[in-house]
Amino acid sequence: MNPFSFHQAAQPDEAIHAVAGDPHAKFLAGGTTLVDLLRLNVETPDALVDINALPLAKIESLPGGGVRIGALVRNSDLASDKTICRHYPVLSEALLSGASPQLRNMATVGGNLMQRTRCYYFRDAISPCNKRQPGSGCAALEGYNRIHAVLGTSDRCIATFPGDMPVAMAALDAVVRTRRRNGSERTIPLADFHVSYGDDPARESVLEHGELITAVDLPAVPWLARSTYLKVRDRASYEFALASAAVALDLEGGRGGHIRAARVALGGVATKPWRSREAEQALTGAKADEAAFRAAADAALRGAREQKHNGFKIELAKRTLVRALVNASEMKV
């Protein structure tokens, strides 16, 4: 592990200045991704700024409805929050499907948005990897790519975004709040927060260096109570998704009723949390039955591009989405 200096920040601006002033400095929150990558020599910062003491760990109701989740709320606390469980069940389910109880006690909402890919070639610190070492090539394209993405890929990078929570947040139309060096704040819709790994796979979000995530807002939309997350993986627990689906339905009547509106996001198959407006369009106005769900799944995966070992993910993602929609349509809300 490279040597680094270590600072603890008490206030957001102190942390932002410390990181913004040093191009090789990084924020440290739960550490579940960063400390792992430090040990693998994939991350080699000069300085770490520990932000765990910042006052950003509250879950609050917003005056106009909706919920504000502080960036340092731990995954386990968010998953068990009563408001979240009741009004945004997809988020609680996504959180509980990720990692292990220990890791969920450590991982934070802000950090989870910044989670990095599990691509073996990114993590091994030696293979060509355009994400780790821009311009060096992509070992996964010609390598073993069973876990890699089929949506949002490029000829430079096919790494999968590994997270669950951000997939649910994409479906919920969440908004990321940040603070920058000049004291200005901005709000970024979650769907625009992550970027596909196109020309510059090293860039994974729209954040500037030193820009700090302070909170994530969830809008007040009553029908999001009919939302659910389904994750399919190689093991029953403690494993990353091969495919996952976060869905919400605004349904007139139960199963077989008329779909007024829908939300669909996919995980485990794309280079970012993958909101599928195509699937949402296919569902809107349709009758909530398996034929409509299958049509939506076909629409969601229409642009998929398979590699040598991950072609199975296309059909797997479709079936995952269909089953998630069936589950949502059968929810009692």
Partner: protein
């Protein structure tokens, strides 16, 4: 866990050219990298080859100069003043600096749970926690659970149900179960398995671990 770890670096070098079982090197790496210890193997390969290991993330590693920082850690109710390397994990600090070797190092990458400790009564992984992050917080290790000769109920349940074989994962299992009791978990075996899913046991002592956890939480042993 990984036979490649014990192989001679020269042999690893050879594997690059010929590839075991007729696979080329890239395919072999791809297959083997599905397990964490194989990442270590990959790093070892690079070191043996003396190639690109020094260049990561687009910049050359700097010569080693450690940044020491004085910290006070509260472990099992006792204060320890330590001159800490900023890179030190809580796990290594507990074992190497403080001498509490009950907490075990399994994968060192947050994938096995052997290093589980409580920080402010919540179970966390000490391998992914930097020691520099915990001053001012209460760390509890497996050594801090018993009251004198009186075993913690979880420890007693593990003994009663023979909830281990080799014992290496056991401290992590026990501390994790203590964390579980505080968090709450439904009393059915499937739920307990899920609540304990962060702790792997290579011996496969799971049925007895589930029975011990059920007993400790006041439910029926399986």
């Amino acid at each position: 866990m990984n036979r490649d770890d014990n192989r001679d670096p020269e042999e690893l070098d050879g594997a690059e050219e010929h590839g075991p079982g007729g696979l080329n090197r890239r395919m072999f790496l791809g297959l083997s990298l599905t397990a964490v210890p194989a990442v270590r193997f990959a790093a070892a390969t690079a070191r043996a080859a003396g190639k690109t290991a020094g260049k990561t993330a687009g910049k050359t590693m700097k010569p080693l100069k450690t940044a020491k920082m004085p910290v006070t850690l509260n472990v099992n109710g006792q204060e320890h003043h330590i001159d800490l390397d900023s890179r030190a994990s809580l796990l290594d600090t507990l074992r190497e600096e403080i001498g509490l070797t009950g907490t075990k190092k399994g994968c060192d990458h947050g994938q096995c749970g052997a290093c589980t400790v409580l920080v402010d009564d919540r179970r966390v992984l000490s391998c992914l926690t930097l020691a520099a992050m915990v001053p001012g917080r209460r760390v509890t290790t497996v050594e801090g659970l018993a009251q004198g000769d009186q075993l913690h109920p979880v420890q007693a349940a593990f003994v009663k149900h023979d909830a281990f074989q080799c014992g290496y994962c056991t401290p992590g299992q026990i501390v994790s179960a203590v964390g579980l009791l505080r968090e709450g978990c439904p009393d059915d075996p499937a739920a307990i398995r899920e609540c304990m899913s962060g702790n792997l046991c290579r011996c496969g002592a799971y049925p007895n671990i589930v029975a011990a956890v059920r007993e400790a939480r006041g439910g029926k042993p399986a």
